[in-house]
Structure formats: structure tokens, C-alpha cells
């Protein structure tokens, strides 16, 4: 019968637990004793982690079929074992991996739930938007204005700058090509058509989705997580007309305005290139622009921006409302909201583009 002794230091706590555990494991593996005596003679203090460690050593010893005995325990140490040692060994169940069909099933179910939630939200929002025109009580005073200032007015500088640069670049890139044919004046046509029908609405929508759509999602998601939405429900207030509708109305009002501004400034950006690099006169450039733009182009621009506004508003609200989890969920919803909004804006742009082409 081979007997080994593990002598413990004066204090057994977290600072030296790793060392003691290594020492014990080495003893068990290399010496292969029949019995292990854990000697507490010097131990004056042991904390909960020390107790846990001894229990783990005992469990490891069982695997090697080694008997363990604890000797020379002071009363204080014994008390620590009574308080911290009664826990059965950790039986940690790992979560089962789901099989292929479960994954497919869950994804389909989730998609169905999302689509139905989204449909209900759309009908709710449109219903309450309509109702809020008739029922004064449903309106929060000044809320649409406040939201419009945030979504529209505060976005003016950045949208003006970006659209100016877009118009500028469009003109710059096309001028090198068109100059070869002596078709300098057609730069004006190109910039005007491209800005008004395509770049203006699209760039503005993407900017607003990134700037205001994300803010709306984050705000609603935070309110959901912190139970503010539940509080509104409990007070008998439907959050749809109270919170969501003003934001949607604000975005629908401001986006076409921002788009129109972006169109004008984009064309001015093009004109700068026309004047500087193509020897065109300001008047000539703008006469050409006015000549080439018909009502149809302006209508396309407005229809597109209106559609994008509704998309941005509804998607932002949808992702905010359906947040899962805590603060991390808010981040995830905001990211999903921006990605989905930009994706659907581009899809809608393509569909409308095709529609107006014929």
C-alpha cells in the first residue's frame, strides 16, 4: 500500500490554488499512490475557492482510484467545509446541438413570425397615421415638428455636402468622355437626369437611413428593453400613434424635401465642373438643365423619395420594436435595421426604375 501526503500551506485561497492543484495532479499522475492524505496541519485559513479546490482534488483522485483522507482540520477549516463543501459536483449540461431539420424549421417559423409581425405593424401604422389626421387627441403636440427638425433640418449640411460632391464627380467623370466628341453641353443633361432620377433620391435615402433610421431603431429598441413601451401600454396608450406615427410622418415630409435640395445642389456641383473645366457659361448650363428635365423626372424623384421614406420609417420601427435581449440586442437591431433599410431602398429603386422606364 503506497501512501502519499499533500501538505497544504498556511492559507489556502485563490492566489495559491492553481499551484496546489498542479502539485496534487502531479502527485496523482506520477506517483500513482493507493491513498492520498491531505494534511491541514498548517492551514489556518481557507476560503470558498480553497474548499472547492480540495473537493476537485478529491474528485480527480477518485478517477485514479485513489482514496483521499483529510487530516488535522482546525474547527475553522471544518466550518468552511460545512459551508462551502456541501455542493454536489458540478454537472454542467452542455446545450444540445440542433439537427438540420430543426434549424430549417426554426428559420421558417421565424421568417413567418417576422412577416406576420411586419404586416400587422404596417396596417397598424397606416391606420393610426390616417386616424391621427382626424382625432386631435391622438397627436402629440409639436412632436412631428421636433422629429422633422431632427430628421430633416439637422441633416441638411451633410446631405448638401454629399450631393454637391456626387454632382461634381458625375460631371468630372463624364466630361473626359463627352469632351472627345465635343459634346460638352451634354454634361448638363447627364448630371441633371442622373441626379434627379437616381442619385439624389438614392443618396439622400441612404444618408437618412444611416443617420435617422438607425437613431429611430435604437431609440425604440432601448425603450422596449427598458420596459418603457410596456409602461405606455399599461397606461392605456398605444405606442403606435404616440411614438411611431410622428416619426413616420416626419420622415415622409422631410425626405422628399431633402431629396429636392440634394438634386439642386448636385446639379450646382456639376455646373462648377462645367464652368471650370468645360468652358460652359452658368446660364448655358442651367438652360440646358431646365430644357432636359421634364415633369416626369421630377415626379420620379418625388415618388422614389416618398417610397424610400415609408420604407425607412417602417423598417426602423419594425426592428426597434422586435428587439431581443438587453443592450446587446439594441446594437444588433440597429445594425440589422440599417442593413435591411439600405438593401430594400436599393431593391425599391430598381423596381421603380424599371417601372418608369417603360
Amino acid at each position: 500500500m503506497k501512501l502519499e501526503t499533500l501538505k497544504l500551506p498556511e492559507v489556502v485561497h485563490i492566489e495559491n490554488s492553481s499551484e496546489i492543484y498542479k502539485q496534487a495532479s502531479k502527485l496523482l499522475r506520477k506517483r500513482k499512490p493507493d491513498s492520498l492524505k491531505i494534511d491541514f496541519f498548517d492551514v489556518k485559513k481557507i476560503d470558498s475557492i480553497g474548499v472547492t479546490l480540495i473537493k476537485q482534488i478529491q474528485q480527480d483522485a477518485q478517477k485514479y482510484k485513489v482514496k483521499t483522507t483529510l487530516v488535522n482540520l482546525l474547527e475553522e477549516v471544518d466550518n468552511a467545509f460545512k459551508l462551502f463543501g456541501q455542493v454536489p459536483p458540478a454537472d454542467v449540461k452542455k446545450k444540445r446541438r440542433r439537427n438540420f431539420f430543426e434549424v430549417i424549421g426554426e428559420a421558417t417559423y421565424n421568417a413567418w413570425v417576422t412577416i406576420s409581425n411586419f404586416t400587422i405593424l404596417i396596417s397598424d401604422v397606416f391606420y393610426w397615421t390616417l386616424m391621427s389626421f382626424f382625432k386631435k387627441k391622438l397627436r402629440r403636440e409639436g412632436e412631428v415638428i421636433r422629429q422633422s427638425v431632427f430628421i430633416g433640418v439637422n441633416a441638411l449640411p451633410i446631405i448638401a455636402l454629399v450631393s454637391f460632391l456626387i454632382g461634381f464627380i458625375l460631371a468630372l467623370q463624364s466630361s473626359t468622355q463627352l469632351r472627345q466628341f465635343g459634346a460638352n453641353i451634354f454634361v448638363a443633361d447627364l448630371v441633371a437626369i442622373a441626379m434627379v432620377t437616381e442619385m439624389g433620391p438614392l443618396i439622400t435615402a441612404i444618408m437618412v437611413a444611416g443617420r435617422s433610421g438607425s437613431a429611430i431603431t435604437a431609440e425604440i429598441a432601448t425603450m422596449t428593453v427598458t420596459e418603457e413601451i410596456d409602461a405606455l401600454y399599461s397606461m392605456g396608450i398605444d405606442p403606435v400613434p404616440y411614438l411611431f406615427v410622428p416619426k413616420l410622418i416626419a420622415i415622409v415630409i422631410t425626405l422628399p424635401m431633402l431629396t429636392t435640395l440634394a438634386n439642386v445642389i448636385g446639379i450646382i456641383g456639376g455646373a462648377v465642373i462645367g464652368v471650370i473645366s468645360l468652358d460652359l457659361k452658368w446660364v448655358t448650363f442651367f438652360n440646358e438643365v431646365i430644357e432636359v428635365l421634364r415633369y416626369k423626372e421630377i415626379l420620379i424623384s418625388l415618388v422614389k423619395s416618398f417610397t424610400f421614406a415609408v420604407l425607412i420609417g417602417i423598417l426602423a420601427i419594425h426592428f426597434g420594436k422586435n428587439v431581443k435581449g438587453g443592450s446587446e440586442g439594441v446594437g444588433k437591431s440597429t445594425t440589422s435595421s440599417v442593413v435591411a433599410t439600405i438593401f430594400f431602398v436599393i431593391v425599391a429603386d430598381s423596381i421603380l426604375g424599371l417601372f418608369f422606364y417603360f
Binding site: I14, S48, T52, Q56, L83, K93, G325, G326
Partner: protein, 246 residues
């Protein structure tokens, strides 16, 4: 005489121009439970935040284990933080990871323990607070009271010598609150912990407190043993203990 574990010297603090704490001095000795009391807005939480080092003030000193925590290098500060535990009012568990992972954070970050030992420690801490069945749950899958207890398990995961508790009984039923108090007492006795507790619950105060520190308008109105507090003839303190009984 043993050295105090917490020393506050002439601490004056506030937000912007508003002074919340005025010239506070306080010594807390090892293996005591000191309850900080006071009406709402008297500066309890501000004082607690200064003790933990979350807030710092230019006027006055806060020393933990004899070291001024506002004048330490990061390494020394971490050594001190390893010896203190904090239970926040709302638990402050990280929502994106499971309860077990939450409790293992300080263990993993500061020590090189084997996974088996770590699992065991997490399991022990959870069973101490009566929650060993929620190992793999996420914080948002638990009730408020359970979250609080899980947060307690995380706060004591390193067996801290100094334990700060903000409103331990808030959101708990009386039975659980009493069990929690018993646990705090046994931790104090077994591990020689020093506890600084902010609470309003008179029943809980009577169960656990060794000393009472009563704050009023940014000053310490009273700092002595529980017995003396209960017999005190200072009207404000008298009111505090008696209004709860009515």
C-alpha cells in the same frame, strides 16, 4: 488596535457646482458590517461610488487596505480590485453571456485556473445563492430577484475581503431577503469579510449591521454601533427606525 480597512479623509465631492458630500471622514475596520443610511438624495450612492473608486474627488482621500486609491498605478489598483466585490443595485450582469460566464469573468481574467476548478467554483457560488439550476441561462431569462442573486454570486466569486453592497434587499421577497442576509453574515464570519451595505430595510439592518453610518445633507450625522443607533435621541435617526415600525 487593528488598522482600518477603509479610511476616508475629509472627502468633499459633488457634481459640477452642487456639493453632495461635505468634508466626510470615516474609518471602517476589518470584519465589520457597516450600513450606510440616509434619506433619498443624501449622498449614499455618491459615497459608495467614491469608496469603490468609480468617482474621484480632488478634495479628500479614500484609502482601501491602507492605500490611496486615487494615487495608484493601474497594476496596484487591479490588485486592490481583486480584493473587493461590488453588488450593484440592478445587478449589472452582462446580458450577452450566460450566468455561468458572468461569474467566471473575474476568475478567468485574473487567475489561471483549470476549467474543472472554475466550473466547480461557479457552481458553488450559484448554489450559495440558491441558483444552481440557472447555470446556462442568460440574464434576461431570469426574474429581477434571481438576477440580483446571480449578481451576488459574481460579486463574491473571488472571495473578496471587502464587499460593497447597494440595496441588497431591493426587489426581493422577505424570505429571500432574510436568506441573503444570513448568507452575508456567514460570509463575514467565515471569510472575515468586511461589508459596506447601503440599504433602507430596517429589518435587514437589524439583522446584519454592526455599525450604522447615517448621512444627512452630505454630512455624517451619526456613526456608531447599531445598539447606540437604536437608542439614539437624535430625532432624524429616531424617526428613521420608528417610521418603519409604524
Amino acid at each position: 488596535m487593528t488598522e482600518p480597512i477603509i479610511q476616508v479623509e475629509n472627502l468633499t465631492a459633488g457634481y459640477n457646482e452642487r456639493k453632495i458630500l461635505q468634508n466626510i471622514s470615516l474609518d471602517i475596520y476589518p470584519n465589520e458590517i457597516v450600513v450606510i443610511l440616509g434619506t433619498s438624495g443624501c449622498g449614499k450612492t455618491t459615497l459608495l461610488k467614491h469608496l469603490i473608486g468609480l468617482l474621484t474627488s480632488k478634495e479628500g482621500k479614500v484609502k482601501l487596505f491602507g492605500k490611496d486609491i486615487n494615487n495608484l498605478y493601474d497594476k496596484e489598483l487591479i490588485q486592490i480590485k481583486k480584493r473587493i466585490g461590488v453588488l450593484f443595485q440592478n445587478g449589472a450582469l452582462l446580458n450577452s453571456i450566460t450566468i455561468a460566464e458572468n461569474i467566471a469573468i473575474p476568475l478567468k481574467r485574473h487567475y489561471n485556473l483549470s476549467q474543472a476548478v472554475m466550473d466547480r467554483i461557479v457552481h458553488l457560488k450559484l448554489s450559495l445563492v440558491g441558483l444552481d439550476h440557472v447555470y446556462n441561462f442568460f440574464p434576461n431569462e431570469l426574474s429581477g430577484g434571481m438576477r440580483k442573486r446571480a449578481a451576488l454570486a459574481r460579486a463574491i466569486s473571488l472571495d473578496p475581503q471587502l464587499f460593497f453592497v447597494d440595496e441588497p434587499g431591493a426587489g426581493l421577497d422577505p424570505v429571500t431577503a432574510e436568506a441573503l442576509d444570513k448568507l452575508l453574515l456567514s460570509l463575514k464570519n467565515q471569510l472575515g469579510m468586511t461589508l459596506v451595505v447601503v440599504t433602507h430595510e430596517v429589518a435587514s439592518i437589524k439583522r446584519i449591521a454592526d455599525k450604522i453610518c447615517y448621512l444627512s445633507k452630505g454630512n455624517i450625522l451619526f456613526y456608531d454601533t447599531l445598539d447606540k443607533a437604536l437608542k439614539s435621541d437624535i430625532p432624524e435617526i429616531n424617526n428613521f427606525f420608528n417610521s418603519a415600525g409604524r
